[in-house]
């Protein structure tokens, strides 16, 4: 099915981003969500924006539709710079964004009402669209009566009602159960490939690699810290695509390799301590208990090595869930990642098979190498009472992490507590060293 006209130089692009950036906050606590992104979307394309959480893909979508302003760069729609919300674009939202107090019919109609469509015409059009997505008979129902999949169908009908040229979807299937998501994916593809919607291009944000390979003509892979484009992958497989197909799986594996990256040499990966020159690397948002669970799972594999793609599948984890955990294992030196495979280091194997007490000791040695945790430990040790309010640390971390300082401290505290390095008193909000610890 040759519906795509990729890189056809003769058509004007539908949408073009030129060096777009997005910053939050003011210096020195400034945070870069999206850095210097340039991309083009042509008529007839189905494009996926793919990346881990925090890579700015949703922010990018909001700049493309004009919901958020850009901090730098340009958004061109059909060659024209965009000043406000793009009237030719629409969004299907992750959480559906239906008005709970309006019926299914009213939810679709309100989009038309805002454009001044008279009542009778509104009703007719909403009826047609609800038929098309298979919701006839549910016109008078309220969203809370519907399952997640059906709610998202209302979201689709509402988006189609305004006859958009650029159809944007923001992780439309990630709040659905597996079966509903699969069914809806098929329906979206059918609407698109049979051209039963008058849409010129589709742009979908997702963190599900398989989904992107299943649907898109082109995948734009993003990375985080700061959010930017890492690579573009063309998908030339014909529809309908088969997930069991070797070419399909090879492509998924390739994208996984891109997203998970490769374990970096140690010094570069660890960064410097807060308050000292050089970049302080953020700790990945991984609860330590889950990290330990991951190590045990990989340890049970043949050769203590496993395909990340398969691992995620087995554990029923999203990319967003598994990546921070894997990254945690990497920076602690428990595992290495290469070409989409994770492999335990000897230390990782030792940890996975150790007793609870031994684990704490192994971990204590490892986390002390992380500049943030070492800095917290040493700061506490220098204090007369060995007890400091967490706000102090948050303040200090703010120079490096801005709004994410608290989150970073929480991760450091979780890991540090697990390793028995320091403790946390929730009542007073203080970090402190336990008596026996300082005696050691």
């Amino acid at each position: 099915m040759a519906i795509n006209t990729i890189n056809n130089a003769t058509t004007t692009p539908l949408l073009e981003l030129k060096n777009v950036s997005r910053l939050y906050g003011k210096a020195p606590k400034q945070f870069t969500a999206v850095q210097d992104v340039s991309l083009v979307i042509h008529p007839g394309e189905f494009v996926c924006l793919l990346g881990p959480s925090g890579c700015g893909k949703s922010t990018l979508l909001r700049m493309i539709t004009g919901l958020n302003p850009v901090s730098a760069g340009k958004v061109l729609y059909k060659g024209q710079p965009q000043a406000s919300v793009n009237p030719h674009a629409t969004i299907v939202f992750q959480t559906f964004a239906l008005y709970p107090w309006l019926t299914v019919q009213q939810n679709v109609e309100v989009a038309l009402k805002a454009r001044g469509v008279p009542e009778a015409e509104r009703r007719k059009k909403a009826d047609q669209l609800l038929d098309k997505v298979g919701l006839d008979g549910f016109e008078g129902a309220y969203p809370r009566e519907l399952s997640g999949g059906m709610r998202q169908k209302v979201g689709f009908a509402r988006a189609m009602a305004v006859e958009p040229q650029l159809f944007c979807l923001d992780e439309p299937f990630s709040a659905l159960d597996v079966l509903s998501a699969e069914a809806l994916r098929g329906e979206l593809l059918e609407l698109w490939t049979t051209k039963s919607i008058p849409t010129e291009a589709v742009l979908m944000v997702t963190h599900n690699i398989e989904e992107a390979v299943f649907l898109a003509d082109r995948i734009i892979v993003m990375e985080k810290d700061p959010g930017r484009v890492l690579a573009e992958v063309e998908v030339t497989l014909h529809h309908p695509r088969n997930r069991k197909d070797t070419a399909f799986q090879a492509l998924v594996d390739k994208v996984y390799g891109l997203v998970a990256g490769r374990t970096e040499p140690e010094m570069e990966a660890l960064g410097t301590a807060p308050g000292t020159p050089g970049q302080t690397k953020a700790l990945p948002a991984a609860v330590f208990n889950r990290l330990a669970g991951l190590l045990e799972t990989v340890d049970a594999e043949q050769g203590n090595e496993v395909d990340l793609y398969r691992l995620a599948e087995d554990l029923k984890l999203d990319l967003d869930d598994i990546l921070p955990i894997v990254e945690g294992a990497e920076i602690l030196g428990f595992a290495t990642v290469d070409q989409g495979d994770i492999r335990l280091t000897p230390l990782g194997e030792a940890f996975a098979t150790a007793s609870i007490v031994a684990r704490k000791e192994i971990l204590a040695g490892r986390v002390m190498r992380l500049p943030i945790i070492r800095w917290i430990y040493e700061t506490l040790q220098k204090d007369d009472n060995q007890r400091i309010a967490e706000d102090y640390f948050v303040d200090q971390l703010q120079a490096d992490f801005g709004d994410f300082a608290k989150e970073q401290l929480d991760i450091a505290v979780d890991w540090g507590r697990y390793a028995d390095l320091f403790a946390y008193d929730e009542g007073s909000g203080e970090l402190f060293m336990e008596e026996d610890e300082s005696a050691k």
């Binding site: 909001r62 539709t65 919901l67 919300v85 009237p87 674009a89 629409t90 969004i91 939202f93 992750q94 959480t95 559906f96 964004a97 008005y99 709970p100 107090w101 309006l102 309100v110 989009a111 009402k113 805002a114 454009r115 001044g116 008279p118 009542e119 309220y142 809370r144 509402r158 305004v162 929730e426 009542g427």
Partner: protein, 574 residues
């Protein structure tokens, strides 16, 4: 289970520059009032209140009318204020602390100043009417505004984004998103405000000091007159009428509104049974209402919507001119400078007025604040002592709850200020002092907040925690200490904060009473304010009112907000 009462903002700093500025503004407003009071008529002749039962419907009607007018003002103010605060971050810097202070300040202390200044600039009778309405508005508007502001700022981002991407104009956005999202909170707070409004209305209708009789014809003055002459029949008739009016409004207005707004609840929690209303069902099923909806209200709403859509389309078509905006911001800056200068000038004048106050009168003020503080503490302690056992009993026993809940609600709905003359009549002869009646008034006005919260907290106790406690054989005092009291803590704090505010309020009417031609008073800040009003000592009036406000705000910030924070962070069950 929801808690009943004030929600303190634990994220605000203990004291900020904004707070100082707000206290300054309040001081300036009070000063202007006190300044005007110099020209207030020395003698205000009150209305003649007839105790004839035939006059009661009329009195009930005018009292309700005052409430309704005040409520409409409050509602308009709420929407405008909450919108501005939610949209404009710079305005929010002042507007939020202002809300936080004004919702916890004893508004009744404004009554004398408002009455005096209104009777100066307006004809006597009109002035008193306006003063009553101003007082009710200032008593009921803050929690409504706070609630609507919170609704506006907690709308999920994706719903707002959907509104933007589907290009809902401000009117459609208000109608389909903002109003529905805020409706439940607003209606709930309106009910609370309305109940509070009765308290203030009764106080305002029956307020008279010295030669100034500020009473207004209405149920409040009727009850006061009846108690004053000791007419038991009239007292009972008056109270009965008041209860009937309150119950009717609840059944015919508030219940149906709650049922109507139930559709706007974002999530249905299984525990809460949806509210029911026979009157709403009746209206909903009536042929006349259905026809009205189909032929009149629906088509005209549609026409209005379409017209507004066209209006906004036209406006979008005409490009806005940038220089005009710049000029507007210059005007805004200019206006701001003038306002700040005026406030500064008035603040200096106010300070000048306060300096004239002799030292011994400052002593009176301090002594008064302290005496009233003790009285408030006593009222809260008595309230806690009886409401905790009773509330826990009612909350944990479904049968007791079913039987007692409606009875408690009717008792709680009677504004304490309406009962006060009756209490004075009964007690002042026996004890010879106003001390006991004053504490009883404070208690009456406030114990219900604690009781309702204790009941709510007890019924919210998770069943598995109760089972665990039983399995562990934790009984008696240990059971209270490990299970009940910690679980009740957030509810108790909310109840006490609200009750405390109410008790301070009550001091204004409780500590000084003109009754049956005789004046009774006890040491207290309320008495100082009332006496200053009666004798025309306006510097003292200003000093006492400001002292009361500052004390209450300080206690709130130092004691209650800290406890509230502990309750939110440590004892909240979620």
């Amino acid at each position: 289970m929801r808690r009943y009462g004030l929600a303190l903002n634990i994220n605000l700093p203990a004291f900020s520059a904004g707070d100082a500025f707000i206290v300054l503004i309040v001081g300036v407003v009070l000063y202007i009032g006190a300044r005007l009071a110099f020209y207030a008529p020395a003698v205000v002749s009150g209305p003649t209140i007839t105790l004839a039962p035939a006059a009661l419907p009329w009195y009930a009607l005018v009292s309700t009318g005052r409430m309704a007018i005040a409520y409409l003002f409050s509602l308009s103010f709420t929407i405008a204020y909450a919108y501005t605060a939610a949209r404009n971050p710079r305005a929010r810097l002042i507007m939020l602390p202002l809300l936080d202070i004004l919702q916890s300040v004893p508004i009744l202390s404004f009554l004398p100043v408002v009455l005096l200044s209104m009777t100066t600039i307006l004809p006597e009778r009109t002035g008193v009417e306006v003063a009553a309405i101003v007082l009710i508005v200032t008593s009921q508007v803050w929690n409504m505004t706070f609630s609507f502001y919170q609704s506006l700022t907690t709308i999920p981002t994706e719903l707002l984004e959907a509104a933007a991407i589907f290009r809902l104009n401000p009117w459609l956005r208000f109608k389909t998103l903002e109003m529905p999202f805020g409706a439940n909170g607003l209606i709930w707070n309106s009910m609370v405000s309305w109940a509070g409004g009765w308290f203030f209305l009764m106080a305002a209708e029956s307020f008279n000091v010295g030669n100034r009789d500020f009473r207004l014809p209405g149920l409040g003055s009727y009850l006061q007159q009846a108690a004053s002459v000791g007419d038991t029949t009239a007292i009972l008739l008056g109270l009965g009428t008041l209860i009937v009016v309150i119950v009717l409004l609840d059944q015919l207005v508030w219940r149906p509104l709650l049922v109507w707004a139930d559709r706007f609840k974002v999530e249905m929690s299984a525990g809460d049974a949806p509210p029911t209303s026979w009157f709403y069902d009746l209206l909903n099923r009536s042929w006349l209402m259905q026809q009205f909806a189909r032929r009149v209200s629906h088509p005209s709403a549609e026409r209005i919507d379409q017209r507004i859509v066209r209006f906004f389309d036209r406006r979008a078509a005409t490009p806005s001119v940038v220089p005009a905006q710049r000029r507007r911001s210059l005007i805004a800056i200019g206006a701001g400078v003038i306002v700040v200068t005026l406030i500064g000038y008035a603040a200096l004048q106010a300070a000048g007025m306060l300096i004239t106050l002799p030292l011994n009168e400052w002593g009176l003020v301090l002594q008064g604040v302290f005496a009233t503080f003790l009285r408030v503490a006593a009222a809260l302690a008595i309230g806690l002592a009886w409401t905790i056992p009773v509330g826990v009993l009612v909350g944990s026993n479904r049968r007791a709850a079913n039987f007692l809940q409606p009875v408690i609600q009717i008792f709680a709905s009677i504004p304490a200020t309406a009962l006060f003359p009756v209490i004075v009549l009964a007690l002042v002869g026996i004890t010879g002092s106003l001390n006991t009646p004053a504490i009883i008034l404070m208690l009456l006005g406030t114990q219900w907040y604690i009781l309702f919260n204790v009941i709510a907290g007890t019924s919210a106790l998770p069943q598995d925690l109760k089972y665990t406690t039983a399995l562990l054989q934790i009984k008696g005092w240990a059971r209270w200490r490990t299970l009940i009291l910690p679980a009740l803590f957030p509810y108790l704090i909310t109840g006490l904060v609200t009750a405390g505010g109410g008790a301070w309020n009550a001091s204004i009417v409780a500590e000084y009473v003109t009754f049956g031609g005789q004046t009774y008073s006890v040491t207290g800040i309320g008495a100082v304010i009332a006496e200053a009003t009666a004798s025309g000592n306006y510097a003292l009036l200003l000093a006492a009112t400001l002292a009361l406000i500052i004390s209450v705000v300080t206690i709130n910030r130092i004691v209650w907000r800290r406890l509230y924070k502990v309750a939110e962070e440590r004892y909240k069950m979620e």
